[in-house]
Symmetry: C2
């Protein structure tokens, strides 16, 4: 797994290529032999595990429990919810047989034609249908509600064009599926989970996001309302980072899930679903990283601090080892993950470049001269600034620096988003700005027709109707495309 350090394309040259190379060179993921499916390598998976850990904690703190539902879904289940089948069931992996056999001509192994399934199964692209068919057996009365389940799982969508983490045929995600006695409670749940996602993105990933509601056209297939968090990447394109859906009674009706309410009256159950996926890895990478490689928020970095010794001989290395030993112990006792890299098969310069590429937030370098002077060299990955500090008490300074890096990369990303968000009032301006990238706040007449025309002409989509907006954005105006009346500005961008 030797790291290839040479020649990471610069963002300014080709942002897309920079991203593709970085994912591979930083050992995050790679293409597999299976069309559109990725291998998530140990370093990339360690970041995903940290994300999972925090999200799972946040889900549990908001009253959710985990469960597991089948990977396969009977084909007929998809046809029960009309919009859902249109949105999901078409491009998917279909299981038709359950056995292989040796070819009679000895040429290898073939699908046994006798082992054809009566009804085909679909590998889940999302689990609403299989889960609501299960909830039917779990729910009889209002006493069985709410059900607040989450599932960590793999899903599959047969995407034609794939990119590591951003769009892959198989990806990992969590999907929450909740059942409620009232419309209000379900809508509230959908909003709560949007809040959890927003907090996670901003406070752990250090990715500022706009919280909003999708237009009817961009809703999840089968939802009455889709809430979303939208990030802005460094190239001026938007990335949808997570969605939370108020599903109304659509799935309860499709699977006939009714309950007796407190007045002993039968009603259909109200639903939400919500999910984030390994796509978040793409958001993390594209928001912070630079031409030297990854920049990781300390809260999600598998290695927060790396220590590299510089020595002329074994004797000096032993002295450095001894001094580093206590630093490592102290940092670990403070809950900081630290790696001491005194391997002798790679030179310091190579190590420096490698850990920069991998986005380790803080690097400490200790040499013989430092030992004599009682100093140590500290570099922070976000600014690449180096300084020489006193060895004594270095642990607390490192801890403070990690906090500062976490805050700084968020501020930096937020400043970029603010400088790249534009209010636009004419169609000419709109077309001009969309070529340059960024978020555009513009008036829209509220029709799907206009939305689709804008998309056809500029590839821009309505990312969301923001939940928070300044006074001016909430005033009526005229649609930037049609000139018809608009109640407020909405957020446009080209998106991943």
């Amino acid at each position: 797994m030797a790291v290839e350090l040479k020649g990471l394309t610069k963002r300014s040259e080709n942002y897309s290529q920079w991203y593709n190379e970085l994912v591979v060179k930083a050992d995050l993921a790679e293409q597999s032999a299976v069309r559109g499916c990725m291998v998530i390598k140990p370093y990339g998976y360690a970041i995903w595990e940290k994300m999972q850990h925090e999200l799972d904690r946040m889900f549990k703190e908001t009253g959710h429990v985990n469960a597991y539902f089948p990977l396969l879904i009977p084909k007929s289940y998809f046809t029960r919810e009309a919009e859902h089948v249109e949105g999901f069931a078409k491009e998917c992996a279909v299981v038709t047989h359950y056995r292989l056999k040796n070819a009679e001509d000895g040429s290898g192994v073939i699908v046994d034609p006798e082992a054809r399934l009566e009804e085909e199964y679909i590998i889940r692209p999302t689990s609403e249908t299989i889960i609501w068919s299960t909830y039917k057996n779990w729910i009889k009365s209002y006493r069985d509600l709410p059900i607040l389940c989450n599932q960590w799982a793999n899903v599959m969508r047969w995407e034609m064009r794939t990119r590591l983490f951003l769009r892959t045929a198989e990806f990992l995600w969590q999907e929450g599926h909740t059942a409620h006695a009232t419309s209000e409670e379900a809508e509230e749940e959908a909003k709560t989970m949007l809040g959890v996602y927003g907090d996670f993105a901003e406070n752990y990933m250090a990715v500022p996001v706009v919280r909003g509601v999708k237009s009817a056209n961009e809703r999840f297939a089968g939802a009455l309302n889709t809430y979303t968090i939208e990030g802005l990447m460094q190239d001026g394109k938007a990335l949808q980072c997570g969605t939370s859906h108020f599903l109304g009674q659509n799935f309860a009706k499709a699977f006939d899930v009714q309950f007796l309410d407190k007045n002993n009256k039968l009603d259909y159950v109200w639903a939400t679903s919500w999910g984030v996926s390994t796509r978040l890895m793409g958001a993390l990478i594209m928001t912070h990283s630079d031409d030297n490689g990854l920049v990781l928020p300390p809260k999600l970095a598998p290695i927060q601090v790396v220590i590299v010794p510089i020595y002329k001989n074994e004797e000096m290395l032993k002295q450095i080892d001894a001094r580093v030993d206590s630093i490592v112990k102290n940092l670990r006792a403070m809950g900081i993950s630290v790696k001491y890299d005194n391997a002798d098969n790679r030179r310091p310069g190579f190590k420096f470049a490698d850990y920069e590429l991998k986005g380790v937030p803080v690097r400490l370098v200790l040499g013989g001269r430092d030992l004599e002077n009682g100093t140590i060299e500290v570099m922070r990955r976000d600014t690449l600034e180096k300084e020489t500090l006193a060895l004594d008490g270095i642990e607390q300074k490192v801890k403070d620096m990690l906090d500062d890096i976490q805050a700084n990369i968020y501020r930096k990303a937020l400043a970029l988003r603010e400088s790249e968000t534009f209010k636009v009032d004419t169609w000419e301006q709109f077309k001009e700005q969309i070529e340059k990238g960024g978020f555009i706040l513009a008036h829209w007449d509220g029709t799907t027709e206009t939305e689709e025309r804008i998309k056809e002409e500029t590839k821009a989509t309505i990312r969301c109707i923001p939940l928070e907006a300044d006074e001016e954005s909430l005033q009526p105006g005229k649609c930037v495309y049609s000139g018809k009346p608009s109640t407020r500005r909405v957020l446009f961008a080209r998106a991943y």
Copy 2:
């Protein structure tokens, strides 16, 4: 999700039915609409999560990292390792198409015949082939070794007869796949992981296991050596709880994975793989539980302590609530998971039966009289013993009791296994004993032929050649079936 408390079949009446009912009544899992696939319900999944958490920690402490590999495997990959395809590729889910479409007659959604895959994919029954095709790109020299990867994943095997947790078409597991420069190092790794599994089974699940080596006939398809841990269930049948395989160079050869050793000589890489699955849930349930329901080891119980109030009026409940509040806080501060169930829609008797069914290790009951007397009633689930203790300092007593329960259920299971392990020296005895159940230590001539005859005539298999045995068992003798020379006793049983 109301609990059905009535009528759990007794173990003595029908052990198999007792198990099936218990899994469902205790809210652990249920059958899904997909043939042979289960839904793991929140309470069952919470136990599995605790298992995962401890195992994952143990894997990391022994130097392993997690990664993720594709769900689908190209059909041709299976044919590369001859034994492997015989063992695995036959009964499996085959993906042949990647699209559905609306039927032209409007009858629904059908598989689009135009979207047939050039090469079919198999849903992974195990991942050696896809992983070794990946390792080929990761390994060039001895410096890239060892690779110590683990994956938490779902896998699928098209089983004809399924039982919840014990044998399901889809199940959850972890699979470790390691690559090494020498045969010795790989063999050592396989043994290390057997040790981890054994420790986990005994110290967390409280399930005593026999560590051993499989006979050639019972080896994993493609392995040179399979290590196993074998448990004995209360009905006298064995359950294989986990296996660790020394794969030699078989997969490296099948996928042409070579490396330059320290002398610059090319050689094939040495491999291991090892796994445990949701089958462990079956072992956990069957080892400890009784006619009242689950008995869970405190270390894996989602709820370790439940507190139930008994009150005549709201006023009294308020007083109890206030006193319980500090007990809950103190227990939580000690790292103990506790639930205070003061819900007023279920009567105490119902709650008692429910928490017994669910195997909560310790139950505290606090009534008005107790408050006056400064006492509390404590019941331990393993023995069902009740006693009244002083309220003051109850927290430490509960903690000690949890430790005692953990130790006691292990001792009890170990005593049962010891009393149900028999040395047998004649074929008549063997046939008689196998009908009664238990582990049989008997001499075997070492041939697959004899092993298969014994299986045909008695349904008993060689569970393993134990790694630890008393002196007498290691002496030569005569095969219990053929009378031919035997080097030592091996372990037979009927198995799940």
